[in-house]
Amino acid sequence: MEAEVIKNRISDVLISILEHKNFEMHDELTARDVDGWDSLSHMMIITKIEEEFSIRFKLRDLNKLKNMGSLVSVIQSKI
């Protein structure tokens, strides 16, 4: 799947969980830059992404997530 398509679908996930659109999708985007994306909402976002792409993360995958770019490449490696 193309990175752009993945990013759009992640963006939809973020909007549905965080209930706002105040962020711009780019590879360097981090959770810190997005209002409300903290350690508590993080797992909800992760679960929703797993459902969206029908994949399963490992805890080790999550530890390696540094920004949107790395999230997209982890997803790409799983589908």
Partner: protein
């Protein structure tokens, strides 16, 4: 040797001068000197366990390298488990052995097997809760490939034993600490002055605020059976302020002292009482512990339970907070303290209002009425919960609570009438006002942007308050943890 002692002044002046004048040639000299001084500092406080600290440092150093060099996941896991068993084992033995030992015999009694037992007298090595968490976090980070292990035993030893933080934190992370000691540190006038500011403020919080509040809190808590509910309620107020001023004061002094050596430790408190909900409060209270628990307990746990949605989140939060409580000591009171805080999160999880503005009334002078109301409600909740942090047993805590919420809550609190009360309340007012003004700054007394007259007026004002109202104290609440 506490920071607010003459001993410490006698210790720190030559150490500071030698560090910058004699041992400043290279990072190796600087680190060697810091290590020697740190071991001396630890030995001064607790020489009996110096060998334990050294052994723990060396064992964790080698385990870190072993995890990294192991060719396959199975071997890496084995070395990680060894590290976890070693570090958690140290804590369990020294801190929790008697707790579980007693619990075991109580269970036997329940089943009718009555037996006599006596607890072992195990001394608690100073700082063990802090340095074992640091090394444990280090091994997990190496295992997760978040950091490379440190292959320099000298640097690693400084990371573990660095004297400003060895007794009571902040619980540092290798990723932020070690890079700072790999290069030669240069003396910066601005950083040193900022360190002194933070020390001054920490000293004020400790010897003026915490110690004066302690006078009331001790009097009321130690005699709670003879006081009406109104006085007991006021006692919880003084204790809540004491606890905060004691530990944030300690942390500010530790961070300030560290700055004198060109090393930045992590912020441990960020004006936590200016929060409008419990989640906000815990982002600002004992930050080095809560972020540790978030990363190494909450995140893995909530990951495992993620299919259970909000229920999974709540279980993870409650388990994490029970551990936060239990970390403080082997007593059910701390378990209750943690459990209650975990439960306070439940409404937030269900309402989805976990994330609010972290700095209250950002960019404004005063908060709104609504914000004041929320901050006060939260403060009262925390203040009442702190009763379980203070008392010796859960029964006493419940009894204390029952006595607060009795008809005697409307009695006049005549036991605390007097000039000292008024003075203490005024000092607390100054303390809170300064923290409010600086709530958006890097630390509670970051007044570097004031002009020179205002800066010096502030220093002298705080200094005079310390001279007039300071009380000496030989210990800090957090030393027992």
């Amino acid at each position: 040797m506490v920071f607010n002692s003459v001993d410490f002044i006698v210790f720190i002046i030559p150490v500071f001068l030698l560090y910058w004048l004699v041992f400043s040639k290279s990072s190796v000299y600087q680190n060697l000197f810091l290590l020697i001084v740190s071991l001396f500092f630890y030995a001064w406080a607790d020489w009996k366990f110096l060998a334990l600290l050294v052994a723990s440092t060396i064992i964790n150093f080698y385990l870190g390298l072993k995890i990294h060099k192991s060719p396959d996941d199975r071997k890496r896991s084995i070395f990680l488990y060894m590290g976890v068993i070693f570090n958690v084992g140290l804590l369990l033995y020294f801190k929790y052995f008697n707790f579980f030992y007693e619990g075991f015999y109580e269970i036997l009694n329940v089943f009718g097997v009555s037996s006599n037992y006596s607890t072992l007298s195990i001394l608690l090595p100073l700082g063990i809760s802090f340095f074992t968490f640091q090394t444990l976090g280090y091994l997990i980070d190496v295992f997760n490939e978040e950091i490379e292990p440190n292959s320099n035993l000298l640097e690693f030893s400084v990371f573990v034993t660095f004297f400003p933080k060895i007794l009571s934190g902040p619980i540092e992370r290798a990723a932020s600490f070690i890079p700072q000691i790999q290069d030669k540190r240069k003396l910066s006038y601005d950083v040193c002055v900022d360190g002194f500011r933070q020390i001054l403020w920490g000293l004020f919080a400790k010897v003026v605020i915490a110690e004066n509040c302690a006078e009331f809190a001790n009097l009321i808590f130690d005699n709670y059976e003879n006081n009406p509910g109104s006085v007991l309620l006021i006692g919880t107020f003084f204790y809540a302020i004491q606890l905060y001023a004691d530990f944030s004061g300690y942390s500010n002094m530790a961070i300030g002292v560290s700055k004198l050596f060109g090393i930045q430790l992590m912020r441990n408190f960020s004006t936590p009482f200016f929060s409008t909900n419990i989640s906000d409060f815990w982002r600002k209270w004992h930050i080095s512990l809560t972020t540790w628990m978030m990363d190494y307990v909450f995140t893995p746990l909530s990951f495992i339970l993620r299919r259970h949605q909000k229920k999974g989140l709540i279980i993870s939060i409650i388990v994490t907070f029970i551990l936060v409580g239990f970390w403080h000591g082997a007593n059910w009171t701390f378990v209750v303290y943690g459990l209650l805080h975990g439960i306070y999160f439940v409404p937030l999880v269900y309402s989805g209002r976990m994330n609010t503005e972290q700095i209250v009334a950002k960019g404004k002078w005063f908060p709104s009425i609504k914000e004041i109301f929320k901050m006060l409600m939260l403060f009262v909740l925390i203040m009442l919960t702190d009763v379980f942090f203070r008392v010796d047993s859960v029964e006493t805590g419940i009894d204390y609570m029952n006595r607060i919420f009795s008809t005697s809550i409307i009695d006049a609190p005549s036991a605390i009438y007097g000039n000292t009360t008024i003075i203490t309340i005024m000092l607390i007012g100054i303390f809170i006002a300064v923290e409010w003004i600086n709530r958006e700054k890097k630390h509670d007394f970051d007044i570097s942007n004031y002009n020179i007259y205002l800066r010096w007026a502030s220093y002298i004002f705080i200094f005079v308050l310390i001279l007039f109202f300071g009380r000496s104290s030989e210990t800090f609440i957090y030393f027992q943890f």
